[in-house]
Symmetry: C2
Subunit: 360 residues, 2 copies
Amino acid sequence: MTEPEVFPPGTTIGILGGGQLGRMLALAAARLGMKTHIYCPDPQSPAFEVTPHKTVAAYDDEKALARFARAVDIVTYEFENVPEPTAAFLAARKPLAPGVRPLAVSQDRIAEKEFLGRSGTAIAPFRPVLTLEHLRAAVDAIGLPAVLKTTKFGYDGKGQRKIERGADIVSAFTALSGSPLVLEAFIPFEREISVVVARNARGQIRDYDAAENIHRNHILHTSTVPAAIDDPTARKASRIAHQIAGALDYVGVMGIEFFVLPGTPRPELLVNEIAPRVHNSGHWTEAVCLTDQFEQHIRAILNWPLGDPSRFADVQMLNLVGDDLAGISAKLRPGMQPHIYGKSEARPGRKMGHINRVEL
Amino acid sequence: MTEPEVFPPGTTIGILGGGQLGRMLALAAARLGMKTHIYCPDPQSPAFEVTPHKTVAAYDDEKALARFARAVDIVTYEFENVPEPTAAFLAARKPLAPGVRPLAVSQDRIAEKEFLGRSGTAIAPFRPVLTLEHLRAAVDAIGLPAVLKTTKFGYDGKGQRKIERGADIVSAFTALSGSPLVLEAFIPFEREISVVVARNARGQIRDYDAAENIHRNHILHTSTVPAAIDDPTARKASRIAHQIAGALDYVGVMGIEFFVLPGTPRPELLVNEIAPRVHNSGHWTEAVCLTDQFEQHIRAILNWPLGDPSRFADVQMLNLVGDDLAGISAKLRPGMQPHIYGKSEARPGRKMGHINRVEL
């Protein structure tokens, strides 16, 4: 069996997606002496500002994809909705990390839940829903309240409806029907935490401390580290993260979101979802870890030894959304580390940057 | 009196010089949401890999300089040997920070010593030398050993000769003559330290802890923090750094090198030289400070509030020179943060990257 390749400085990393995550990956790659090439259909992509190498083309443009594949040594991605044919096309030409399978698993809520269930991970009860009859049967099985979700392309609260009572069933179904759905039990969680975990091709796994996440308008508002959980719960979340990364033969950084439920003698942990990429709830690692999640992802896909994920200090990451960026320089105080994404236009709900606030 | 301008995210920063310092400045600027445009005559400049905006032209190409000035909002530089006419040409068109005066002072050892002397800073005895007769008189005045240096363009030990005894005088003069020279007393220092200090246009000044520097073959080998000096000496170095930054109306980050001499009751501090730019001996700030020297420089020139320079941990920066980069990924251990400059060719004595080793 041949050892997986180790990519040296000077490697050109192709990145699918030109948003802030692609931009931060490119910056981390540059710190390791790598070149980057960003592929994104949007000519205004913020990641285009941090490298001279770009492709502006649709994800199904095979000529552009073939040129991109020739121009790079390895391909990674910043978002889980890379179309499967795009991923397969590229994977046939150059190493693709994290790879096709994590995309398939994370793009479809049912595939994700089935994978998690098979790997022994506790998740909320769910039922696939294609018809109104399925939905009624699913409500009978799971109970109310419950949440109806599209199986694909949901993010930041889009593509989901809470069903509180029987009278909500038809309207929820009508609002979302037209694509496959899944009904999930509504989890009355105490808190939501996430773990960012990295694995490289030689099987080394490292995870960062769990962050506790607060959302506003379905968009991540703050991630606080340490999370208000006891040590056994933290260790359990870490163990689950290692197990998922191993079960997927994962290469790169992934984010794993958990619900923490009241339980006896210990809180219960359910995995909510997994994201096969660097994760908004891991941006705090920039401020207080020697190796942040972006460098960790680059190290992992290049098959470098992973960096130490331990942290120097307590930290809270605050997302800057929409107009939050206005007058930012005047708002900075000691102990704040800003990261601004260089987006030209501040639209409502658009993530414009974040600030890490550190207890010095 | 109008307040100096504060530059917002989206500002385009022009950077003169495309080496590793320009590259690291560009990466820091990107983290604050800025665009960068690199100006450098060398088409292989490593900084060209971290932005789509570049000018490849000589520093005296006024057409290229005029185009560059139109394309940017503010100009800074990564090296002190920016030709004076280039700096003046740009300063007439766009804000230039740190500005023309720090360049004039630091480009000429005699101007530098005269400035330092006027501002009350202790320095080694020196004499300007244009002829062999000057040199003999200077040796009589200062004593031996002494060091003869060209007044301009010296770096990494180039352009200097040590004079141990009378018999060395003619050979030292012959080796360096043809340009203005200066004879400096040889300082039998205990150690060499440096302080990186930042000042913004509103007059805020912050300095990082002093680093202790070891050179190999006249090239910086390690910078260790904390330096082995007592607190009063550290405070004195900090005070001198503040004073120099203030006396120059400096805007940006500068490096100040000191000799530490045995003294009673306290060690004596002599300023060796000042560098009007981010400094190799400040690279450790990347690993253990919330705001590193590169971000601090960008904050300073944009007239943002300066970041907190305090540090989380003890650290040693090790330069990677020439072949040191070979097989780098296999050499990484926990507690090491690498930064690799993306230079295509490893020549002897060429700085290829650095590693920060942190006490975790």
